[in-house]
């Protein structure tokens, strides 16, 4: 265990919740970071400090608290920007990644409905105007957050949804037929970077290269990648950035209630507003309104200041450890976990069972026991996993299973946590008499 690049026992101490026990004194083995991560003291302290010293509406007041609050909020934006190699004014704070992705989908709806009535739109907004027959491309391994908003958009505009399939090995089926799937009618290609159910890290180069050729917008759902590996939004694949990248703050040690959308400057500039109201305007009369530049254009209402400050502290914490070391650590967890799980008779990993281009998220099913029952036994051992379709129901349908057990790991997990998982699964087999 000494080979691990992180001192996990020290890291665990930074997370107060990991000191608690569950189910009558069991050590908590938290393997549900894919849903939301735990928060270190540094983040909780930063939030509390903000509330106790500088709380006020950012960008709104003329008093000292408002100034401090604005500076704290904008400093957080700058930290998040630097974390992904972006400029501060390319970072929009949202409540979660779902809002970030909906913001993109609604950009199309808003541009389309405004264009239809001859309303004015920002320069470059034509690419967001859809007509029946236009196509939107996703994949079968999307989280519902990167699927349902596009289905809804199609229902409202007459555009057609198309998708990449999944290979038997749990990889994106991006080789054949790609130039048919992504074609002149394609307006947007929106793909998950790391699958939250399979753990697959998708090589986005091929689809996005083709998307560029046909002028389609390239969107990345980076919920499960940015918290776990170094990601430069300007270099997500083959020296090129995507156009828009969405992810959650609460999955990368930040507070609940915060997500992020990054957009290339020119792309954000060309987008009409989504949520409208205070602080996203330039001038307002009863007759009409003009809008501020990004990022303000997309941050209507009093923002989640404390959560942004907390996310800034999370970024500091991650930087101090180093994202490359975290990625390496998770890779070692993966190399340890895959064979340990494969040892178990009757257990099938759903997703890649090789450690290349995959993260430390492991979905599996156990013969003869429903995933929820496996999860229940694990829970009685103090092992917290998620069971169900993980908001990636079509992926389950693809593999013809109703649900999986999912263990998703992070910097605070170690081999002992994996061992507890394996022991728990074996115990479930014993309990249900299938071993």
């Amino acid at each position: 265990m000494s080979a691990q690049p992180l001192d996990v026992s020290r890291i665990k101490k930074d997370f107060p919740i990991l000191q608690r026990t569950v189910r009558d004194g069991k050590r908590l083995v938290y393997l549900d970071s894919g849903a939301t991560s735990q928060k270190p003291n540094a983040v909780l302290d930063a939030e509390r400090h903000y509330y106790e010293t500088s709380n006020a509406a950012a960008h709104r007041g003329a008093h000292q608290l408002a100034e401090e609050s604005t500076l704290a909020y904008e400093a957080a934006r700058a930290k998040v920007a630097a974390f992904v190699g972006a400029q501060p004014d390319e970072i929009i704070f949202t409540k979660n990644a779902t809002e970030s992705l909906n913001l993109i989908a609604y950009t199309f709806l808003n541009a389309t409905t405004k264009a239809a009535r001859g309303e004015s739109l920002p320069d470059g907004a034509e690419r967001f105007v859809l007509k029946p027959g236009d196509e939107i491309v996703v994949s079968e391994m999307e989280h519902h957050a990167n699927l349902v908003p596009w289905q809804e958009l199609c229902a409202k505009t007459g555009a057609t949804l198309r998708w990449f399939g999944i290979t038997e090995a749990g990889r994106l089926h991006a080789e054949e037929g790609i130039s048919n799937l992504i074609n002149e009618r394609t307006k947007v290609v929106s793909l998950v970077h790391q699958s939250n159910i399979l753990g697959t890290v998708n090589l986005l180069g091929l689809p996005f290269k083709r998307a560029r050729e046909v002028g389609a917008l390239c969107v990345v759902d980076a919920c499960q990648s940015i918290p776990h590996m170094p990601v430069d939004v300007n270099n997500i694949y083959a020296d090129q950035g995507a156009d828009l990248v969405a992810w959650s703050g609460h999955k990368m040690l930040g507070p609940t209630g915060i997500g992020v959308l990054w957009g290339r400057r020119e792309v954000l500039d060309s987008m009409p507003p989504f949520l409208s109201g205070g602080s996203m305007i330039e001038t307002v009369t009863m007759q009409g309104t003009t809008f501020a530049k990004p990022p303000q254009r997309f941050e209507a209402g009093v923002p989640m200041m404390a959560q942004a400050v907390g996310l800034g502290a999370a970024v500091d914490y991650l930087n101090e450890i180093g994202m490359d070391r975290i990625a390496e650590h998770e890779h070692e967890l993966t190399e340890y976990t895959l064979p340990r799980l494969s040892e178990i008779d009757g257990l099938t990993i759903v997703g890649p069972n090789t450690s290349a281009d995959r993260g430390s998220t492991f979905s599996f099913v156990v013969d003869g026991i429903h995933p929820h029952d496996v999860g229940q036994v694990l829970d009685s051992h103090g092992v917290a996993v998620r069971v169900g379709h993980h908001c990636a129901w079509p992926t389950c349908q693809h593999f013809k299973i109703p649900a999986t057990v999912r263990a998703s790991m992070y910097l605070y997990n170690d081999f002992a946590d994996v061992d507890a998982l394996v022991d728990g699964v074996r115990d479930a087999q014993k309990f249900f008499g299938v071993s």
């Binding site: 009558d24 026991i369 929820h372 229940q376 309990f431």
Partner: protein, 154 residues
């Protein structure tokens, strides 16, 4: 909380040897219910007989896929409602819902109406499993009320 409190022996028995499983004809109404949190589902048919006060549940049959709790619950439900009067069946249904709320509220329960279903009291301690236990009962309630409405309008 021990695992055995949820997975009581009666539950495990019903899970392994479910009663009344399989879709049967004839039926008045068929419903399909899904538990959106896990994707599990049940297809359930109801055939009513008699009329007025004497309406009885002639048959209830089901097919589906789900966890041990949901499967066992369907089997137990079959025992409690099959062949009884509709009134009795719906009261059992109410009673079972109340049992599932029992972690939240303290209530007097009619053990007779519940039969083996009383074994699900441990499940009520696990909020995430309550939907599992209720899946079949909710489907039955839905199907029975549709069947009744059909009968009354025909």
């Amino acid at each position: 909380m021990q695992l055995e409190q949820m997975y009581q022996q009666v539950i495990m028995d019903h899970y392994k040897h479910p009663h009344g499983k399989g879709l049967r004809d004839p039926f008045d109404v068929e419903v399909h219910h899904v538990n959106p949190t896990c994707g599990d589902e049940i297809t359930l048919r109801v055939k009513l007989g008699g009329s007025g006060e004497a309406v009885a549940v002639e048959d209830v049959s089901f097919e589906g896929q789900g966890c041990s709790i949901s499967q066992a619950s369907a089997s137990v439900m079959f025992d409690q409602v099959e062949g009884t009067s509709l009134t009795e069946a719906l009261r059992a249904n109410e009673e079972f819902s109340a049992l599932m709320q029992s972690a939240v509220q303290d209530q007097e329960l009619d053990e007779e109406l519940l039969g083996d279903a009383i074994a699900f009291s441990g499940v009520a301690q696990y909020p995430a499993r309550i939907k599992c236990a209720l899946l079949a009962w909710m489907a039955f309630k839905d199907a029975a009320s549709q069947a009744l409405a059909k009968e009354q309008t025909s």
